[in-house]
């Protein structure tokens, strides 16, 4: 059985969306902050899934693109008084540009070398932001306003409105990615993942396709960064630290890589767990670490894979029962 089977995807997606809408409208301020955080990191995790799950490029540097999106948004709105609606496209463009330049270098590499050089790029962004006083250095930057939607009679400073806005962004990203993965281009990416040399032999411009995926992924990571700057109004270089990329990769694995829905599930589980655990014990990262090891070692296909396996179990048992019944 394949863990990337998409049959159940629409149902899981609708359930998640309904859950998010109901939860957001019934919970209070804190709940909506967490919901927005989940939606934003889900966008980021989907971006990573495009390169890691589909094209087979395990990036450990996506926190760099994420932070760049956040800092571009913060700098343009705070220093130059730009409206957020104008800053967001530039944040996306900036992150896409960095991803493009990085991509030119990294698409030649595979395996651990790919992982290491993406890590280096992310850390380059981190050490630049950490030392540069213009952007507040290690103190970070504050004061980023939220997207102004008063045209539509919506006040985004209301936690419910903002969390629903981030959920809407996540939905759009998800739908775009699903359409993309079903296009011939998406199939080519999966082909490259499975057998790069064969795809090259078939005349597929492998490096160009990988570069395009990496750039698109960076752009979406920039969008997530732009939103995270608006979430709390405060950003710091920690956003670009390499452990953020590592945790992100774990969120993708926890949910199920190469499905786009899996990363959303994984993000929701990991972030909720983190908040629950950190309110219970000071040593929450110890528990998270053990959870991560267990998931990576034992749960192939992640949580979405688990759902698939459950369905397979129920479904095939029913069919076997009827077959057995006909025989007697």
């Amino acid at each position: 059985m394949k863990y990337t089977d998409t049959k159940l995807r629409p149902y899981v997606f609708i359930m998640l969306l309904l859950g998010a809408i109901i939860y957001g409208n019934t919970t209070g301020y804190y709940g909506n902050e967490i919901l927005a955080e989940i939606a934003i990191y889900a966008i980021l995790a989907m971006a990573l899934d495009l390169v890691a799950g589909y094209a087979g490029m395990i990036s450990l540097g996506h926190a760099g693109f994420f932070a760049l999106g956040a800092y571009v948004t913060a700098a343009l709105t705070v220093f130059f008084d730009w409206p957020v609606v104008a800053a967001m496209p530039l944040a996306i463009l900036g992150a896409a540009l960095l991803a493009f330049v990085t991509g030119i270098v990294v698409v030649r590499l595979t395996g651990v070398f790919f992982i290491m050089i993406t890590l280096a790029v992310g850390q380059m962004v981190y050490s630049y932001l950490f030392k540069n006083r213009t952007f507040g250095g290690d103190d970070g930057m504050s004061g980023t306003p939220r997207l102004d939607l008063s045209w539509f009679n919506l006040n985004t400073d209301d936690p419910v409105v903002f969390s629903m806005l981030t959920v809407a962004f996540a939905v759009v990203v998800y739908l775009i990615f699903v359409v993309l993965s079903r296009s011939p281009y998406g199939h080519a990416l999966i082909g490259i993942h499975q057998n790069e040399n064969r795809m090259r032999a078939l005349g597929c411009p492998v490096r160009l396709y990988k570069l395009a995926a990496f750039t698109a992924s960076g752009a979406v990571a920039g969008l997530a960064g732009s939103l995270v700057a608006q979430l709390s109004g405060f950003i710091s270089p920690e956003l670009s630290f390499w452990t953020v990329s590592g945790e992100l990769l774990i969120m993708v694995i926890v949910g199920g890589m190469g499905t786009f829905i899996g990363p959303i599930v994984g993000t929701a589980v990991v972030i909720s767990l983190k908040h629950e655990l950190s309110s219970m014990t000071e040593y929450w990262s110890f528990v998270m670490g053990i959870f991560f090891v267990a998931i990576v070692l034992f749960a192939e296909g992640g949580l979405y894979g688990l759902i698939l396996r459950l369905r397979h179990l129920l479904f095939s048992r029913k069919r076997n029962a009827t077959v057995a019944g006909e025989k007697t």
Binding site: G111, I115, A120, M124, I250, S285, F286, M288, F292
Partner: protein
């Protein structure tokens, strides 16, 4: 500013950092070369080495007790880690291995906080090396010279071990072409295990040696881990010469970078690594002849 004594002091500082990086990176590098496995928890082992040194030095009242015992403790942790988890993952893709060892960083970080607490600890410099000496008119701490000497000694021992002994030949052959080594009737797994433990021992040793110079705190592993990884990648995984070359380059660039262009030193290191990977995708010293 650019007079001779200044340059010599910085050169010694760079050399000292290089030796620490070498102790860390050589285990990482040879394990990577042998098993195609990158251990992100290597920095955590370094941190454990430093903390064991704190405890042993307190209990025995002597730095040398820590110097002897702490690395062995770290090697034991490495052995348990290998036998319980790594042995299951030999056939997995690099991503899984990276993630499991990544999760070990979290576990190790909190384990240290649980056992030793959140506050920085210090290990006193051993008495015989506690003073300073004069080099070209500049005073320089003797202990740092001891680190340089120790690093050079380990380099020499490893070189002799790898080049002049039977086990060294097996290790070199294992990096080059593990399948053929297996066909020759050699138990490669057992060699892997001992090499892994030796790498952990050296990481622990780096922690013990670094403890009197830097402060010991939870999270001290992070910055060092990244530098050690860069050394491995720049030098070329699996090669002793590569680890030597890589640690000298990175140690020197980091030291001189911090002094000459503060704020950009780390950016330069990452850029240097990207440049080297662009021109030599498998590091400066590429050992693997078979694909």
């Amino acid at each position: 500013m650019f007079d001779l004594p200044f340059l010599i002091v910085q050169l010694l500082n760079g050399l000292q950092l290089s030796m620490l990086l070498f102790l860390l990176a050589v285990g990482l590098s040879v394990v990577f070369g042998l098993m195609n496995f990158i251990n992100l928890a290597h920095g955590t082992l370094y941190m454990f080495g430093a903390y064991f040194a704190v405890s042993v030095a307190k209990m025995s009242g002597s730095y040398w007790g820590a110097f002897l015992l702490a690395p062995i403790g770290v090697a034991l942790i490495g052995a348990v880690f290998y036998k319980t988890i790594l042995v299951r993952m030999q056939q997995d893709q690099p991503m899984k291995q990276v993630l499991v060892t990544f999760a070990m960083i979290f576990i190790g970080f909190d384990a240290v906080r649980m056992i030793w607490g959140n506050f920085p600890e210090v290990v006193p410099t051993p008495d015989i090396f506690s003073g300073s000496t004069t080099i070209f008119g500049e005073t320089y701490p003797v202990y740092r010279l001891f680190i340089i000497g120790l690093g050079l000694a380990v380099m020499l021992l490893l070189y002799l071990g790898l080049e002049r002994t039977r086990i060294g030949a097996i290790v070199r052959a294992g990096v080059d072409d593990p399948d053929t080594v297996v066909t020759l009737g050699i138990n490669v797994r057992r060699v892997f295990f001992w090499v892994f433990c030796l790498g952990c021992y050296l990481a622990g040793l780096a922690g013990v040696v670094a403890a009197p110079v830097f402060s010991v705190f939870p999270g001290m592993d992070m910055a060092t881990l990244i530098l050690a990884l860069i050394v491995v990648i720049v030098g070329g995984p699996g090669s002793l010469k590569g680890a030597v070359l890589g640690s000298l380059i990175i140690g020197m660039v980091d030291t001189f970078g911090q002094v000459l262009i503060p704020g950009f030193a780390s950016v330069i290191i990452y850029a240097l690594m990207a440049l080297i990977l662009l021109t030599r995708p498998h590091g400066l010293v590429s050992v693997r002849t078979s694909a």
